[in-house]
C-alpha cells in the first residue's frame, strides 16, 4: 500500500529528467543509425537514381559519344518486346512453383524437426548445409546430376515413363526449367523450414491438447489449430522467399545461361547491361525490375495482410 502511494511523485520527477534525456537519446539514436543508413542508401538510392536518369537516354558504353536523350523510348522498347514478357512469365512461374513446393516440403520438415527428440544437433547441421552452400555450387551439382553423360538422374530414374536413358535435360524449355527449379528448391527449402519451425514452436501445446481431447483428428488439428496460429510465420516466410525467387539469377546463369527460353527478368537485365553494354536500355529494365519487386512486395503484404511488426513480437 505504501509503495503505491509513493509512486506518483517519483514518476513526476523522472519525467522532468526524461525530457532532457529524451532529447539526448534522440540525438544519440540518430547518430548511431546514421552510418548504416548512409551506407545502405549509398549503394541503392543513388545508383537507382542514376538508373532512372540513364534510362531516358540511348546510351551504349561501347559508343559513349552517341548518348542521346530519347525520353521514355527505352521503356516503350522494353514493354513492347515479347522477350520481356516471356522472361517475366518465366520468373513468375519459377517463383510460384518453387515457393509453393518449398512451403509444403518446408512445412513437413518443420513438423519433423519440431517433433524430433534425438539427434537435434545433427538435424540442424544438415539442414543448414543447403542453406549455407553457395548457389553456384548448388547449380553445378544439379547441372551435373542432370547431365546427359555424367549425371545419375537418367540412369537412376529411367524406370519412370517420362525419363529415358537419353533424356536431355537442358535440351528443351520444360526440362531445363525443371532442373533450374530443382536446384532452387533444394537450396532454399531449409530456410523456409527453419522459419516455419520457429512459427510452429509458437503454437501452444495446450491448445493442441485441448483439441485432441475434444476429438479433433490430426488433419483437423493441422488446419484448425496449427496453421491459423502460425499464419504470421508462414506469411513472412512466403514474403521473403517469393521476393528472393523473383530475383532468380545464379541458377539460370550457371545451368542454362538463358538457353531454351529459360531467361529470368534478372538475367535479361544483366545481359543487356553487362554483355550488350546497353546502359540506357538496361537501366530502363533495372527500373522496371525494381518497380515490379515493389509491386510484388506490396501485393503480398496487402493480399495476405502480413504484419511484419506483429510477426516480430513488436505489435
Amino acid at each position: 500500500m505504501s509503495t503505491t502511494l509513493q509512486r506518483p511523485p517519483a514518476d513526476v520527477s523522472t519525467k522532468a529528467v526524461a525530457s532532457d534525456r529524451s532529447k539526448a537519446e534522440n540525438r544519440l539514436g540518430l547518430k548511431l543509425v546514421a552510418p548504416a543508413v548512409v551506407m545502405m542508401l549509398l549503394v541503392t538510392a543513388w545508383p537507382m537514381g542514376q538508373a532512372l536518369y540513364l534510362s531516358l537516354f540511348r546510351y551504349r558504353l561501347t559508343a559513349p559519344d552517341d548518348r542521346e536523350f530519347i525520353g521514355i523510348d527505352n521503356y516503350v522498347t522494353v514493354l513492347t518486346d515479347s522477350l520481356f514478357w516471356q522472361d517475366t512469365w518465366n520468373t513468375v512461374l519459377i517463383m510460384v512453383v518453387t515457393v509453393a513446393v518449398e512451403l509444403v516440403i518446408g512445412f513437413a520438415f518443420a513438423m519433423v524437426m519440431h517433433r524430433i527428440i534425438f539427434a537435434r544437433g545433427l538435424m540442424r547441421t544438415s539442414i543448414l548445409i543447403p542453406y549455407g552452400i553457395i548457389t553456384v555450387v548448388s547449380a553445378f551439382a544439379w547441372q551435373f546430376a542432370f547431365s546427359l553423360n555424367n549425371g545419375f538422374v537418367n540412369a537412376w530414374f529411367s524406370w519412370l515413363p517420362w525419363i529415358a536413358e537419353d533424356t536431355n535435360w537442358f535440351g528443351d524449355h520444360w526440362h531445363a526449367m525443371f532442373a533450374i527449379m530443382v536446384s532452387e528448391i533444394w537450396k532454399t527449402t531449409p530456410f523456409m523450414a527453419l522459419l516455419l519451425l520457429a512459427g510452429l514452436s509458437q503454437v501452444s501445446e495446450d491448445m493442441l491438447e485441448a483439441a485432441q481431447v475434444d476429438g479433433a483428428t490430426w488433419w483437423q488439428r493441422l488446419w484448425k489449430v496449427i496453421l491459423p496460429n502460425m499464419r504470421a510465420a508462414i506469411m513472412v516466410a512466403v514474403l521473403f522467399r517469393a521476393l528472393d525467387a523473383y530475383r532468380i539469377f545464379d541458377n539460370i546463369y550457371i545451368m542454362t545461361r538463358g538457353a531454351q527460353d529459360t531467361e529470368s527478368i534478372s538475367f535479361l537485365t544483366y545481359r543487356q547491361v553487362i554483355e550488350q553494354m546497353q546502359l540506357g536500355l538496361g537501366s530502363a529494365l533495372s527500373v522496371l525490375l525494381f518497380l515490379s519487386v515493389l509491386l510484388l512486395a506490396w501485393l503480398i503484404v496487402k493480399l495476405f495482410r502480413v504484419d511484419l511488426a506483429s510477426a516480430r513480437g513488436e505489435g
Binding site: M40, A141, N150, F152, V236, V273
Partner: protein, 287 residues
C-alpha cells in the same frame, strides 16, 4: 498412435538427412572422378577409380583451361579474394549494424520505424537492377575490379539482415542492467560499451556468420563488377571456368572447386549451428 508417430518422425528424419546431404555427397564423389572418366561419360554415382588428381591440379596450378579473356586464372587467388572481401565486408557491416541495432532496440528516437522499413526494402532490393549504374559509377571512380568495389555493395546489402537480427537479439538483453549502470553514473555511451557489448556479443557473432554467408555466396555483383583475378571471387571464377571444350564442361574440376568452397560453410555450420538457427529465425519471426 504413439508408435506410428515415432516411425513417421524417424522416416522424416532420414528423408531430411537424405535431402540435405545427398547432393553434397554427389559433388564430393564427382570431385574424385578422374578427368578421363568424366570425358568418356560416367553416369554412375561413385567414381570408378577414386583419385586426388583434381585436388592437386586445383591447388598447384592455376585454374586449368584457357581463359576467354586471356587473363591468368588462378583458383587460389580467387579463394583469397573471397575470404578477404567477405571477412572485411562482414566486420564493417556488423560494426555499423551493431550501432544501429542498439539505437533501434534501446533508444527512443524519431525515424526508428523508417530505418527498419528502409532496411527491409533494401533486403528485398533486386541486386541486378544496380549492376548497370554501379558498373558505370565504379568505372568512373576507379572502383571497378577492386576489393572495395565489392566490399561497399556487400556491406549495403548485408546491413539489413544484420540490423534486423541484431535488434531482435538486443531486445532480449535485460534493460535493467543498462539502467543500473546509468544510475551508477555511466553515460549512455558507457552503458553501451561496458554493459551491453559483452551481453550482445553472441548476437553480434551470429549476425556476423549470416553476413559472411551472404558475401561468400554473392554472385551477381561478383561477375559484373570484376574483370580479373585481382578481385574475382570463387563463385565468379567458377562460372568463367569453361575448360577447353565448351560442350563438355570440366565436371570433375568444377566439383573439386565446389567442395573446397563449401568446406568453410560446413565448418562454420558444424561449429555454430545453434547460433545460426537462432539468428535466422529471430530476424524474421521472434522464436
Amino acid at each position: 498412435m504413439k508408435g506410428k508417430n515415432a516411425i513417421g518422425t524417424w522416416v522424416g528424419f532420414l528423408l531430411i538427412l537424405l535431402w540435405c546431404l545427398f547432393p553434397v555427397a554427389w559433388i564430393i564423389s564427382l570431385s574424385f572422378k578422374s578427368v578421363n572418366e568424366t570425358a568418356v561419360g560416367s553416369p554412375q554415382f561413385l567414381p570408378k577409380d577414386a583419385t586426388f588428381e583434381n585436388y592437386k591440379a586445383l591447388w598447384d596450378w592455376p585454374f586449368i583451361g584457357p581463359d576467354p579473356t586471356g587473363v591468368e586464372q588462378d583458383f587460389q587467388k580467387a579463394l583469397l579474394n573471397s575470404f578477404g572481401i567477405s571477412i572485411i565486408a562482414t566486420v564493417l557491416s556488423v560494426i555499423l549494424a551493431t550501432l544501429a541495432a542498439y539505437a533501434i532496440a534501446r533508444l527512443e528516437f524519431k525515424g526508428k520505424r523508417l530505418v527498419l522499413s528502409l532496411a527491409l526494402a533494401i533486403a528485398m532490393f533486386p541486386v541486378v537492377a544496380l549492376v548497370g549504374p554501379l558498373f558505370d559509377l565504379w568505372t568512373r571512380f576507379g572502383l571497378f575490379n577492386t576489393w572495395p568495389g565489392l566490399i561497399i555493395p556487400y556491406m549495403s546489402f548485408t546491413l539489413p539482415l544484420a540490423i534486423w537480427t541484431l535488434s531482435a537479439f538486443f531486445r532480449e538483453i535485460p534493460w535493467e542492467m543498462e539502467q543500473a549502470a546509468q544510475v551508477d553514473g555511466a553515460t549512455s555511451w558507457q552503458a553501451f560499451r561496458k554493459v551491453i557489448v559483452p551481453l550482445a556479443a553472441p548476437g553480434v557473432f551470429t549476425a556476423a556468420i549470416l553476413t559472411f554467408f551472404f558475401a561468400w555466396n554473392e554472385f551477381v555483383l561478383a561477375i559484373s563488377l570484376t574483370s580479373t583475378t585481382a578481385s574475382r571471387t570463387v563463385p565468379a571464377q567458377m562460372s568463367f571456368f569453361v575448360g577447353p571444350d565448351p560442350f563438355n564442361p570440366p565436371y570433375a574440376q568444377l566439383a573439386t572447386a565446389s567442395v573446397i568452397v563449401t568446406l568453410p560453410v560446413i565448418i562454420i555450420v558444424l561449429l555454430f549451428q545453434r547460433k545460426i538457427v537462432a539468428g535466422l529465425t529471430s530476424g524474421a519471426v521472434k522464436g
